[in-house]
């Protein structure tokens, strides 16, 4: 299958197979006017199978979301057909409106306009806790 190489834009490569759609949703790519391609189950020598997202515009991307969902992915900025930047991903210290607190006693359960903020409390074990009630994300 062929998808044209993009000239100016962003390629999120080496996405763990199956996580492409999730990233598409969390990055809110459906709200973009430019072309966006999700390529699923591409054969990859490194991963066996992988997903790729190509965005045909150089837009700001929330790297924290990708770092949290799939830290092994790579993000490349393309200009005039050349990769001009490879972004490094790591687990973000803070996630805003990516995870949602399910604790019914949390203040976020009654105040709808509050942002759901999770903080990384244990990098080794990838544990995030709600900023407000400290409930662990699962």
């Amino acid at each position: 299958m062929n998808i044209d190489a993009i000239k100016n834009g962003i390629v999120i490569d080496h996405i763990t197979a199956g996580l492409g759609m999730k990233l598409y949703d969390l990055l809110e790519l459906e709200s973009l006017d430019c072309s966006v391609a999700i390529i699923k189950n591409v054969s990859s020598p490194k991963l066996g199978r992988k997903d790729i997202i190509k965005i045909d515009a150089d837009i700001p991307i929330n790297l924290n979301v990708i770092g949290y969902v799939d830290p092994g992915a790579t993000v490349n900025r393309i200009r005039d057909g050349f990769t001009i930047e490879k972004k490094k991903l790591e687990l973000p210290e803070k996630l805003v409106n990516v995870l949602f607190c399910k604790n019914p006693r949390c203040i976020t359960s009654t105040e709808q306009e509050l942002k759901h903020v999770f903080k990384l409390t244990d990098r080794k074990n990838r544990i995030y806790r709600c900023l407000y009630c400290e409930t662990k994300a699962n």
Partner: protein, 309 residues
Amino acid sequence: MKHLIDILDFSVEELQELIDTANDIIDHPKAYSERCKGKKLATLFFEPSTRTRLSFEAAMYDLGGNVIGFSEAQSSSAAKGESVADTAKVISCYADIIAMRHPKEGAPLVAAMNASIPVINAGDGGHNHPTQTLADLLTIYREKGRLSNMTVGFCGDLKFGRTVHSLINALSRYEGIKVVLISPEELKLPSYVKKDILKEHDIPYVQTSDLESIMSGLDVLYMTRVQRERFFNEEDYLRLKDSYILTPDKLNNAKTDLSILHPLPRVNEISVEIDSDPRACYFKQVLYGKYMRMALILKLLKEAGNCEY
């Protein structure tokens, strides 16, 4: 802006500073009686807690300050649907410092993020109650002369008892602390508290359901009440509420300098006969709570640049 939302918001040094101030207030109350003249404390109690509210109010009056506020959500603008963030912004225009009690976990943090004056968490649901921990720490310090090198027993509801989690958290930063956890099977300390606090800080601990067998080794015994509101069914509550009742005969093997603490109110877990025992500290603890709140108000106002001392 410095706030007190979680006991760990203060370093060990800052806690000692509060303890030193509280001790100085106890020795020289007159010297503090006008320190907050012209200042206003807003007590925003979205759920009733008369005991905690009166302690804050007494603390502010003893500093020569004034108090405004409300004691339940029905009489506040929250009843009209105002957000905690807006309430915090509005109250910041009237008062110099806020003490907030709220049934929802994290509400005082939301207030702190939006207020332009210091916010004190006066209890957020089953989550944190740091000023109770301040009272506990001053009580232990005054009774023992130290906060390190001792064996502290926690007895009763260790599962839902936020004062227990918070005090364990605070003590975990001192040297030579050993912990004994006494509870029925259903009310054991949650495993995340054991893992995140006790194991993380290499604090030796034992778990038992038998209070008398470990009594002789304790320097401090922290009793708690089994709270009805934490249970979904009445049967479980009734079955567990009388698990531990401290009576004089159970103190036969206890150290002569044991300190018995309880965050109060008690139901029946400490027999009234113990009240006259010199080892009973729970009423002193109430008084110390007021002194620590005075020290806390002074510290936060000073850090906000709103008080000379």
